[in-house]
Symmetry: C2
Subunit: 385 residues, 2 copies
Amino acid sequence: MNYYTLFVFLKNSITMLVNNVKLGIIGVGNMGTVHAQNVFSGKVPGLELAAAADRNPVRREWAKDYLPAGFPIFNDGNELIQSGLVQAVLIATPHYDHPPLTIQALKAGLHVMCEKPAGVYGKHVREMNETAIKSDRVFGLMFNQRTNCYYRKMHELVHSGKLGAIKRVSWIVTNWYRTQAYYDSGNWRATWAGEGGGVLLNQCPHNLDLLQWICGMPSKVRAFCHNGKWHDIEVEDDVTAYLEFPNGATGTFITSTADTPGTNRFEITLEKGKLVIEDNKNLILQELEVSEREFCKTAAGGFDQPPLNLINVETDGSNEDHNGVLKAFVGKILYGTPLVAEGTEGIHGLVISNAMHLSSWLDTTISLPVDEDLFLEELNKRRAQ
Amino acid sequence: MNYYTLFVFLKNSITMLVNNVKLGIIGVGNMGTVHAQNVFSGKVPGLELAAAADRNPVRREWAKDYLPAGFPIFNDGNELIQSGLVQAVLIATPHYDHPPLTIQALKAGLHVMCEKPAGVYGKHVREMNETAIKSDRVFGLMFNQRTNCYYRKMHELVHSGKLGAIKRVSWIVTNWYRTQAYYDSGNWRATWAGEGGGVLLNQCPHNLDLLQWICGMPSKVRAFCHNGKWHDIEVEDDVTAYLEFPNGATGTFITSTADTPGTNRFEITLEKGKLVIEDNKNLILQELEVSEREFCKTAAGGFDQPPLNLINVETDGSNEDHNGVLKAFVGKILYGTPLVAEGTEGIHGLVISNAMHLSSWLDTTISLPVDEDLFLEELNKRRAQ
């Protein structure tokens, strides 16, 4: 560390001690409330709750009760953004508002942490990303499952190359159980106009992000989305999708909000082994001593199999979840250290979700990249219903 | 038991003790050899190996070496059938020959145990079944996995109705690993002309039979079969299929001969619980105290879940495998006791397999029943290549 970087370090440290990053939370519904409580109670060092906004008077009442007298509470995200009271915003509104609020905040010179999904349709999110790329502000996405030590380790093992190329991916993630009461709790929920989709947009952005983060983007998607199959809703609550990746690997992704007990089992078969995570915990590696591709061609016996080692993979055990994402956000703002997930990466999982919807709507296989205009046209038909 | 049935019982018992059922095995390749050894060494009481046939001189040589001097060994199944030396035949030839040999044997007044699959295409198997229905001879299929105590228990639990209707089925059965040497071991193997398919025809008939036996027949199939993806063969060695059942339940079936370590995990989600069998052993039941369908509509909390009990299901522990199927065959011939699998039931799994092939060939969803003429036309195109 030279004198200059030492100077910057000390300056930022003092800034942080004396003057925390002032955060405004836009939307204090289900998730925004959790974030507001975490930040307000000091669980994210360096981050100070300085304002909140919600369009819903019931949620503003909650904020008034929870926060000190005189705490700035706005009726609308725009007002909060323009207030001059904050350096950063956390956006936890319904999905359609993520891109426009992010764009407004970045343009107003604020750092942005946006809840998942990045938005509802690729075209919207692309505009948001273009603004973010031009901006010098920090833009992160709340992909808290990327902080899970097992998924981090899986990502590390796959990307290290030591297990060779991916051959097959199977994710059964049907443990997103929701009752009818959940869907009845907000009239924007599970509607094309209010939310733009169902389980793919609300519950699965984490899984779709982890899928692309660990395995890369598929090149083809054939999905079977069932709308209102198990609940009185107009969007999908049951999805089975078949994926093909650029290297020829195949995959399935199965999800639902109506299975209880559900399953959460993510399996990746590679040339030199198999990785399995169940219930977001424990990573099992069955590692081959030689590559299956080589073994297949050279083994003398028709039923021979290469020797393997069963490994209960050690991890660092850390799973900082939402607050870990926020800590990294503060770190990036003050010290330039990495985010958990760059905001611009949010488009990837959304594109997979868009491809699944479009495949089901058109009853055909969709090649990626998705035709964004066609997707929006088809989505708008459903929003207008 | 009245005097008459007692008389029949004693007569049959004496017949069996004095005069075993004389069996001819047609085809002493991989499986036929195992059956010949089992029967010859007395592992199936009441069944006596009386003749063998194989078109391959190498396998006839093996039979001559293994069996006593002068043991009847034929060059061809027809000769064995017409020899008058046997009362029953076990057919373990390449798949295309199963229906014609079965038809010949039944018409010659012989009982028939046929190896899986029932045949290669539905039309052929339907003809065989029509002959069997008209015949008074016993006709069974070698679905030895139906003797597995876990699958039997799963079948019993699903069919009891106590767990309600099926909602979802996921079978990942990728533990059929085969090397290139396996495919190189016979020139009929893994060809359209010789075998009529790959992993679906050779390895998966067991799984497809269990699937339909336990869950019933699907009404729609969308499959993605990859030909020669991992081996130098012309047929499929990698399949992912999506299924829909008449009640709206969905399913996936994933198989391959190139995954090692593979997976064998069969999961069924029902209205009142979830059943999982891994690696053909241990049946885990997570049983709900109330039906999910009822709970979903009445629960007050959006994230509530019904209480459940985790049960490691007890079974009778019996898994008689191939010899169990043959014992039941003898029992049916002598006493009219039930077979493990009626021969006419073999068509069901084959129809699913045909639907998967046709779906992949035509790149579309196939509704069942499959158009048998269309399937045969498409198969013949590939056989002629």
